[in-house]
């Protein structure tokens, strides 16, 4: 499980990459992204998630997202990120 705290933008690149490696190494076949405390996601952040989905695909890992606000869930749908990861319904603030 990767907890995304604060902004998912350029500043998140290294943290996100390291967290992904740990989550992948832990086994279980699934990486869960927890967006409950991510209150700002921009296009750079979306690019990072696309990169992560690419890596997950190469390693045959499933990616799930939880805690997305309605606004970001819409963005995940518009960008079609949601076609390549499971978006879990869940209460979330803006």
């Amino acid at each position: 499980m990767i907890h995304l705290v604060g902004d998912v933008d350029a500043t998140a690149e290294d943290t996100l990459a390291a967290a992904f490696e740990r989550a992948a190494a832990a086994g279980g076949g699934t990486v869960v992204l927890d967006f409950r405390r991510a209150d700002y996601i921009n296009s750079t952040g979306i690019a990072l998630i696309v990169g992560l989905l690419g890596k997950a695909r190469a390693q045959d890992l499933e990616v799930r997202a939880t805690g997305l606000s309605e606004h970001y869930r819409e963005i995940f749908e518009i960008t079609r990120l949601s076609d390549f990861m499971t978006i879990e319904e869940g209460s979330a603030g803006a």
């Binding site: 700002y40 979306i46 695909r57 518009i78 960008t79 390549f84 803006a94």
Partner: protein, 511 residues
């Protein structure tokens, strides 16, 4: 047995029950028509089986015609008491009379054939109806296509003005049209018109009117002269009983000055700070009489004012009790409605409530609204171009618009503002410390507008649309979502170069 048996039936001609006789004197191939008042009709209907023609004693022209053709035996084809036709038989080949067996056989044949014939007749009737209906639908489709082809595909973008249009044809397409024509001297002409009649004829007259109007509009500046010219061109070729009503106005967007003339069209409303007024000008409809003169009137639209041009499909719509919507009701709606596009929505809402849910639209409905935007400057500030500073732009914009947008729209605008600011800082200003981005936030009757300017100078080149599958497959960079997101998030994006600065304007409507 008979030499031949033939029959011919035509249910669609209820005035006569036709019969055909076999080999007989000249003209015998012609069916014998039994006139509605002929006593033979009632006789055959109630005969209950084959009858010998020579034994019938009636004063009947049809009977005489049968005899002239050498008919010996008439076999009525009756179904549900209704005579569908008659089998007429000539003399037997053996020259003997028809026997009792012959008649019984023929009677049975008639009893079994009649219902089958009735079914065949019904099928044929339905097929004919279907063809008629299909032809009618095709004609409507043609009318619709002509109509749509001659309506503007998009409305011109007039800085400081909002132009909105609505057009919905009735099922049986009427002759409504509207047009917005940019004129050579930066003025703009507005047209709303209605051709009497419906369907293809109305659509053709509409397309001719529109073409002549467009031609006149760009050459003649005075609205009255334009209508005179169009009228004189339409009169010679106008089909009988047809004419065109038309409101024509010319707007100077810089001053708000509107000059207009009216050829018998529904009077437009203007909504100002003082209330609602009618824009009246006298004139006869186009295409009726040559050399008509059209009165010209003028008014000046101030910021916040709105004009509504409309067609009679609105005021002449009926409620279930057949009461008309009418001008007073429309005027009330305009008075209580917000200006601009929302005014059109309000009229449609009120009309819908008036006509009720099961209403089929009787006539075309057309509206054009013309609104002089009144802007309010909510904020103007600069933010240094540095990584992550787009969040500051986003927060400061959100602060001044937060009570004007619902939470979902606010979120969308925030995302668009952040992306636009990030583009301006990174691509426009190259994150140079001495090159801030300039932000302005404005509001008007329709929504809020955020302008973000950088020193880039050039309008951005169109980029390849992001495709997540290509990105995951490594054929596209994972990045490149910015412009895509901006366009998806807001209601309008305008890019321009002003005073050497590259400007992106984001438009977010209130709803």
């Amino acid at each position: 047995m008979p030499r031949s048996i033939r029959h011919r039936l035509d249910r669609r001609r209820p005035d006569a029950a036709p019969t055909v006789s076999p080999r007989a004197p000249a003209g015998a191939d012609e069916p014998v028509k039994i006139a509605p008042g002929d006593p033979l009709l009632a006789y055959l209907e109630s005969a209950g089986g084959p009858v010998e023609v020579d034994a019938i004693d009636l004063d009947s022209p049809a009977l005489q015609a049968l005899r002239d053709r050498g008919v010996k035996l008439a076999v009525p084809l009756v179904s549900h008491g209704e005579l569908l036709g008659v089998l007429n038989l000539g003399a037997r080949r053996s020259e003997q009379d028809y026997s009792g067996d012959d008649r019984r056989l023929l009677g049975q044949l008639a009893t079994q054939a009649s219902p089958a014939l009735r079914v065949a007749q019904l099928v044929r009737e339905q097929e004919a109806e279907a063809v008629t209906r299909q032809r009618f639908e095709q004609e409507l489709e043609v009318a619709r296509l002509i109509q749509q082809n001659f309506l503007p595909q998009e409305l011109p973008d007039l800085p400081g003005w909002e132009i909105a249009a609505y057009y919905k044809p009735a099922r049986e397409v009427g002759g409504d049209f509207y047009d917005v024509i940019p004129l050579p001297d930066n003025r703009v002409a507005f047209v709303v018109g209605d051709v009497t009649d419906k369907g293809v004829p109305a659509a053709l007259v509409m397309s001719a009117t529109r073409s002549v109007l467009r031609g006149a509009a760009v050459r003649l500046l005075e609205p009255g002269r334009v209508l005179e010219y169009v009228n004189d061109h339409l009169v010679p070729d106008m089909p009988a009983k047809m004419f065109v009503t038309c409101l024509y106005g010319v707007l100077d967007p810089r001053t708000g000055h509107l000059r207009f003339a009216n050829a018998g069209h529904d009077v437009p409303y203007v909504k100002t700070a003082d209330g609602v007024a009618e824009l009246r000008a006298r004139g006869m409809p186009l295409g009726l009489m040559p050399e008509m003169r059209y009165e010209e009137k003028e008014t000046t639209l101030e910021p916040g004012d709105s004009v509504l041009l409309h067609s009679d499909g609105i005021v002449e719509a009926h409620d279930p009790a057949r009461e008309m919507f009418g001008f007073p009701r429309l005027k009330e709606t305009v008075a209580s409605a917000p200006v601009g596009r929302a005014m059109i929505d309000r009229v449609l809402g009120d009309l819908d409530a008036f006509t009720g849910p099961d209403h089929e639209q009787e006539d075309d409905i057309t509206m054009v609204s013309l609104t002089r935007v009144r802007e309010e400057l909510l904020a103007r500030f600069d933010v240094a171009s540095a990584r992550c500073n787009e969040r500051e732009v986003m927060e400061r914009v959100a602060e001044v618009v937060t009570d004007r947008l619902d939470p979902a729209r606010l979120d969308r605008l925030k995302t668009a503002v952040a992306e636009a600011a990030m583009n301006a800082m990174e691509h426009g200003n190259g994150y140079r410390a001495d090159a801030p981005v300039h932000v302005e936030v404005r509001s008007d009757h329709a929504g809020v507008r955020v302008r973000i300017a950088d020193d880039g100078g050039d309008v951005a080149q169109p980029v390849e649309a992001p495709d997540i599958e290509a990105k995951l497959a490594g054929r596209q960079t994972p990045r490149g979502w910015g412009l895509f997101l901006i366009e998806k998030m807001v209601d309008g994006v305008r890019e321009s170069v002003e005073d050497g600065r590259h400007v992106v304007e984001l438009v977010m409507r209130y709803r």
